[in-house]
């Protein structure tokens, strides 16, 4: 009697252990190495074209700005490596030069980075097959940028799920490395560029986002959100410059979401 209960308990524990073991290795059936390698190389190749070109023009300007403000080269490169968000990096340079306090600078940079929350939430499902999250996804989140987001949101859905993470790492690491080199070149030789060429470069990154988002957003609700956000952006900026990015996202996004729901509801009734 006592013995059989003990045996049952042992069996139950074994079952739990085996379940734990299988949940600990969500990627037990990893894709073959050559598939991963080819996908990563495709990502590198895709990024080596226009996506890194656009980032390079932005980071050349950033390097030149940092050098102009007599900030250290080490800090400038670390900024690209650890913050990896040009708006936040520019805020940091400007506020540090103005002599704002440590705490206020950190708070402002942190607030400017809130956009990564909705961007990451919308993006992550593309990178995982089930709702399982591993350290790879936390590493992937650090490499996310607007450029990578806009590109991969349109390209990844057409790709087999097993190749996406490798492609993404190849793509984003290429962007990161070329931006680091650009920050350095900009720091050393940035003011050699004529002023009008610098202006043209500054305009090219928003144009890149404009083309890729308007041309590659396939879902109706996504397009609706783009239009609503584009209308809200400048209007909200007139009211509150500091909060304009976040507020135009929340207002424009909510309006688009509600309109889409409303129309879906109506067509279902009809």
């Amino acid at each position: 009697m006592g013995e059989s209960r003990q045996r049952l308990r042992r069996k139950g524990r074994q079952l739990i252990d085996s379940q734990r073991a299988s949940s600990r290795h969500p990627n037990a059936d990893q894709p073959p190495t050559h598939v991963v390698r080819d996908a990563a190389l495709n990502g590198v190749r895709a990024a080596a074209g226009i996506p890194s070109w656009v980032l390079v023009t932005g980071y050349l300007g950033f390097g030149a700005l940092a050098a102009g403000h007599q900030l250290s080269l080490l800090g400038t490169l670390l900024s690209t490596l650890t913050i990896w968000a040009l708006p936040g990096q520019l805020i940091l340079v400007e506020m540090h030069t103005l002599g704002a306090s440590f705490f206020v600078i950190l708070l402002t940079v942190t607030l400017s980075a809130i956009r990564f929350l909705p961007m990451t939430v919308a993006f992550m499902p593309l990178l995982r097959e089930a709702r399982v999250v591993s350290w790879r996804h936390y590493a992937a989140a650090h490499l996310l940028s607007i450029s990578g987001w806009a590109w991969c949101m349109s390209r990844l859905p057409e790709m087999p799920p097993a190749q996406r993470l490798a492609y993404y790492f190849g793509f984003t690491l290429t962007l990161m490395v070329s931006s680091l080199i650009a920050s350095w070149i900009g720091y050393v030789a940035g003011d050699l560029l004529p002023a009008n060429a610098q202006l043209a470069f500054v305009l090219m990154s928003p144009i890149y986002f404009l083309l890729i988002l308007s041309g590659e957003t396939r879902t109706g609700i996504g397009r609706l959100a783009l239009v609503a956000g584009a209308i809200c952006g400048p209007l909200v900026h007139l009211v509150s410059a500091q909060w304009s990015v976040l507020l135009s996202g929340v207002i424009g996004g909510s309006v688009a979401w509600w309109l889409h729901r409303y129309w879906q509801h109506k067509t279902r009734q009809a």
């Binding site: 656009v54 250290s72 800090g75 670390l78 913050i83 936040g88 520019l90 940091l92 440590f102 940079v109 942190t110 980075a113 809130i114 956009r115 929350l117 909705p118 961007m119 990451t120 939430v121 919308a122 993006f123 999250v133 936390y138 989140a141 650090h142 996310l144 607007i146 806009a150 009008n196 043209a200 090219m204 144009i207 890149y208 404009l210 083309l211 988002l213 041309g215 609700i221 996504g222 609706l224 959100a225 783009l226 609503a228 956000g229 584009a230 209308i231 952006g233 400048p234 304009s244 976040l246 135009s248 996202g249 929340v250 207002i251 424009g252 996004g253 909510s254 688009a256 979401w257 889409h260």
Partner: protein, 111 residues
């Protein structure tokens, strides 16, 4: 060590940690909610609208060096990019982006 005197480098790394907080939070939230849920589609809408708002704000009300350009110059550059991308080429991103930069450069030289 050279790091010790570089207060800017410390500030940069701290700012990087603060930025990463939102990225990690995004991964954690994404793991909790289903892509079919209303909350997920709302958050996606916010992400799309945020970026679109950022782009149109830079074109209509730029801050920084683009303030030196006129609104019509920026609109013309964006218009040329859209025409090249959608009508003249079959969605060639490289030509679209470069044409906008070239347009702004040419307009600045002429003015």
């Amino acid at each position: 060590m050279f790091l010790i005197n570089d207060s800017y480098a410390y500030l940069v790394v701290l700012a990087g940690v603060c930025t990463y907080f939102w990225r990690a939070a995004g991964v954690a939230v994404a793991a909790k909610i289903s892509t079919e849920s209303a909350l997920f589609s709302w958050i996606s809408c916010v992400a799309f609208a945020m970026l679109a708002g950022l782009i149109s704000r830079v074109i209509f009300l730029p801050t920084g060096s683009l303030e030196a350009t006129a609104l019509w110059e920026r609109l013309a550059s964006a218009g040329v990019a859209l025409i090249v991308y959608f009508f003249l080429t079959r969605k060639n991103l490289l030509l679209g982006v470069i044409s906008s930069g070239a347009t702004l450069y040419a307009l600045r030289l002429l003015s």
